[in-house]
Symmetry: C2
Subunit: 125 residues, 2 copies
DNA sequence: CAAGTGTACTATAACAGATAGTACACTATG
DNA sequence: CATAGTGTACTATCTGTTATAGTACACTTG
């Protein structure tokens, strides 16, 4: 369910956050679903419980999940909307890269193809 | 000529690298041009000479510039080509984000508009 | 009560980024 | 030659982030 890359630059706790949000976006995790517990997932991924706690804490701060102490941690009803809103920033990132590509003389068609390919590939999956 | 953001996540030396390459892409810095010296630029930006040395060292490793000890540091003839080739990675980044946008339910048109807007904005400048 | 949950806390290690300071070698210029 | 300005090398230190280890406590369900 989760895949950790220990050698990349992105910290583990960020990978957890990203992948959890991704699971919500793709509908694998729905409102009310229980997230894997800190202990079990930390064992499964061979990471420290504190690292996981940090990731879950951030997701909670964003309103993506809530904790029920003694019970578990669950996806909120707003999770999908909240995660979706974060995509506006991604659009800004695309614009930033787009300007660089233009400055580099990369034709608009190539940038367009990249986005198109991404949508076609994602749609298949 | 250079703008440093001390509060963002991107390290200073990476900002120097990015901005130098950007200046080459936009034609502000051409083959044979001298780069600002380690001492003067470090004073101007209020950063440590070592930090600048690190940035310049990486640019040199990439073949973007060469150092002439006792004389200065200059943009190479291959600089524009080398920097341009790095743009392939940016296209991959766009694909990655594109897939996320698709998963988030952002319509293809919106992603397309973002790229289009970037190219139009850059072309004006 | 027992097991499983979240939470809090301290301590430690490792690493990256940045700074400070010093010293040396080279080149162009006056 | 002397000087100023250039690149280079090196050590040491500081800071913040990331990750780990270990312990302890509180809560809920069965």
């Amino acid at each position: 369910m989760f895949q950790i890359d220990r050698f990349g630059r992105t910290p583990i706790y960020e990978q957890i956050i990203d992948q959890t949000e991704r699971l919500i976006l793709t509908g694998v995790l729905k409102a009310g679903d229980q997230l894997p517990s800190v202990r079990t997932l930390s064992q499964e991924l061979s990471i420290n419980p504190n690292t996981l706690q940090k990731a879950y804490g951030e997701l909670e701060r964003r309103g993506v999940c809530v904790s029920a102490p003694g019970n578990g941690r669950f996806v909120t009803g707003d999770a999908l909307r909240i995660v979706g809103e974060g995509m506006e920033e991604q659009l800004e990132e695309i614009k930033r890269i787009g300007r660089e590509l233009c400055a580099a003389g990369i034709p608009f068609e190539r940038a367009l193809e990249a986005v198109k390919a991404a949508y076609e590939k994602e749609a298949k999956v």
